[in-house]
């Protein structure tokens, strides 16, 4: 099977490999997939004032899975959280020219960014719930 140029580029020069501090309140972490299925993606975002300032990933999986997650981190940097929520797997698959057998890689990348956003929002909600007065006091 031949890989598209873009898949090879992301595989050979993955963007934003790494980790952010999981315990940081401004960081959302999404881990999707399973080792038994042959792919696990960890995608993290750091959000400031509703904008994704930084994104990092680590992926265990085939070249297309690595490329899908690398591409998503590139896309979401600088995006507003609600924009990033709208990323569809079809856009990822199209950008990377994934063959049908690799579509699940793009699905996983979409799931990963959604899971990271959800984690971030839950953290925010929890922080807001625990310290309801804090934002007021800050003003």
């Amino acid at each position: 099977m031949a890989y598209s140029k873009k898949v090879i580029d992301h595989y050979e020069n993955p963007r934003n490999v790494g980790s952010l501090d999981k315990s940081d309140e401004t960081v959302g972490t999404g881990i999707v997939g399973a080792p038994a299925c042959g792919d696990v993606m960890k995608l993290q975002i750091r959000v400031e004032e509703g904008v994704i300032k930084d994104a990092k990933f680590k992926t265990y999986g085939c070249g297309s899975a690595i490329a899908s997650s690398s591409l998503v981190t590139e896309w979401v940097k600088g995006m507003k959280v609600d924009e990033a929520m709208k990323i569809q797997n079809a856009q990822i698959a199209e950008e990377l020219s994934l063959p049908p057998v690799k579509i699940h890689c793009s699905v996983l990348a979409e799931d990963a960014i959604k899971a990271a956003i959800k984690d971030y929002q839950e953290k925010q909600a929890k922080a807001a719930g625990e310290e309801p007065d804090a934002p007021e006091a800050a003003r």
Binding site: I31, G33, A34, P35, A36, G38, M41, K58, C62, V101
Partner: protein, 406 residues
């Protein structure tokens, strides 16, 4: 020293044809092109002579009589002929067959076909070392068992089954014994008499012969094995397999067998040393490398190894100038990881992380060192990118995590 790329290290899949084999084959395409079944002229006689000479070489390699060799189009056909041919011929005597879960698809799918036709098949499990348990085999044998089919060496792992012991057991119970010896033929000595083999499938292209030709050994004495032909026509090959003989292919097969037999001891010792060099480098230089299958009962040139926390296809992608194969799901059409490794109880994760490397006649130490360097480099790079590796470094037990299978 630099090596010439791409490097081929997938000799269990197929081999280049040895130039000496090509040399032997060439006249059969042009001058000596006769139909070996033509009895009325010299062209036919010469064709038949060439086929007979090849038959002798192959028989000699396994201590058989030339009359016991039936030429086919390859080992898939040989396996089909052996299993369906015996099942059909002995259906009135019994309808039970015993095989193992790690057999090649040519055996497993043939058995599944027979199950749909009213036969019963027992699929023996294997241990973590890839071996079938003789006690389990013994327990599986029944009064209506007509055939045991257990491969000589596994194509993915190189694990050798206890063929002599299985042959003996089958003899005692008067059950026919077929073995798919595609991977083992000319890699380890095979004596069909000493091992008690009744039927054996072999192929030319795995021993530096041409593709499209194979053979089935069919025992003629003690006992005389009869089977129902699966391809009908002119009654070639003693009625076992009709169809005009592939004279160039058969001549090439015979020459390949002769060369491999004469050079086996020296060649396999050299190949074994090379494989061991590679294995030692992997184990010493790459932590969490796990060799799959018994090393004690093993083909000299095959190495199946998993590099934990790195997915096989992504590793292959990083070895783009090297040809090896992987048990990863992503390299198969089915999206399932290797059924052979899973049958050995390997975690799916490790099955996805496996590479199969086979050392062959042209392989050099430099090629293997190049492979080892590249694998080490890529495994390190991919582990840096692997969330699993990160978790393990942080002391997380991967089995404790609630994964989301998709």
């Amino acid at each position: 020293m630099s090596v010439k790329t791409p490097i081929y290290l997938d000799y269990a899949a197929t081999c280049p044809v040895d130039p000496r084999v090509v040399e032997a084959m060439l006249p059969c395409f042009t001058d000596n092109f006769g139909n070996a079944a033509s009895r009325t002229h010299v062209f036919g006689w010469r064709g038949e002579e060439a086929v007979d000479a090849a038959r002798i070489e192959i028989a000699k390699t396994i201590n058989a009589d030339p009359k016991e060799i039936t030429f086919t189009s390859g080992a898939t056909e040989s396996n089909n002929l052996a299993i369906k041919g015996i099942a059909e011929y002995l259906a009135d005597k019994g309808r039970h067959i015993v095989t193992a879960v790690t057999e090649h698809k040519a055996v497993l799918d043939t058995c599944k076909y027979l199950e749909r036709r009213g036969f019963e098949v027992t699929y023996l499990p294997v241990g973590a070392d890839g071996l079938v348990d003789l006690e389990e085999l013994k327990a599986a044998l029944r009064d209506d068992t007509i055939l045991v089919s257990i491969m000589f060496a596994n194509n993915e792992t190189g694990v050798l089954q206890p063929i002599g012991a299985i042959g003996k057991l089958c003899k005692e119970r008067k059950i026919l014994f077929h073995t798919d010896a595609v991977q083992a033929f000319t890699k380890v000595p095979i004596d069909v008499q000493a091992l008690g083999i009744d039927l054996m499938s072999i192929s030319a292209h795995k021993i530096y012969g041409p593709k499209g030709v194979g053979a089935l050994y069919v025992r003629r004495r003690r006992p005389r094995v009869r089977l129902a032909p699966q391809i009908h026509g002119g009654g070639h090959e003693r009625g076992n397999r009709s169809g005009t003989l592939n004279v160039p292919g058969i001549v090439g097969f015979g020459e390949a067998a002769r060369i491999a037999r004469e050079e086996m001891a020296a060649e396999q010792a050299r190949i074994f040393e090379l494989r061991e060099h590679l294995r030692r480098r992997f184990v010493a230089e790459i932590p969490h490398s796990i060799v799959n299958g018994s090393l004690e009962h093993h083909l000299p040139g095959t190495l199946n190894i998993s590099f934990a926390y790195v997915e096989g296809e992504s590793l292959l992608m990083g070895l783009k100038d090297i040809a090896v194969s992987s048990g990863s799901a992503c390299t198969s059409a089915s999206l399932e990881p290797s059924y052979v490794l899973r049958a050995m109880g390997l975690d799916d994760e490790l099955a996805h992380s496996s590479l199969r490397i086979t050392v062959g006649r042209p392989t050099t130490r430099e090629e293997l060192d190049y492979l080892a360097d590249r694998v080490k480099e890529q495994v390190e790079r991919l582990r840096e990118m692997s969330p699993l590796w990160e978790m393990v470094q942080d002391g997380v037990d991967l089995n404790s995590i609630q994964w989301t299978p998709h």
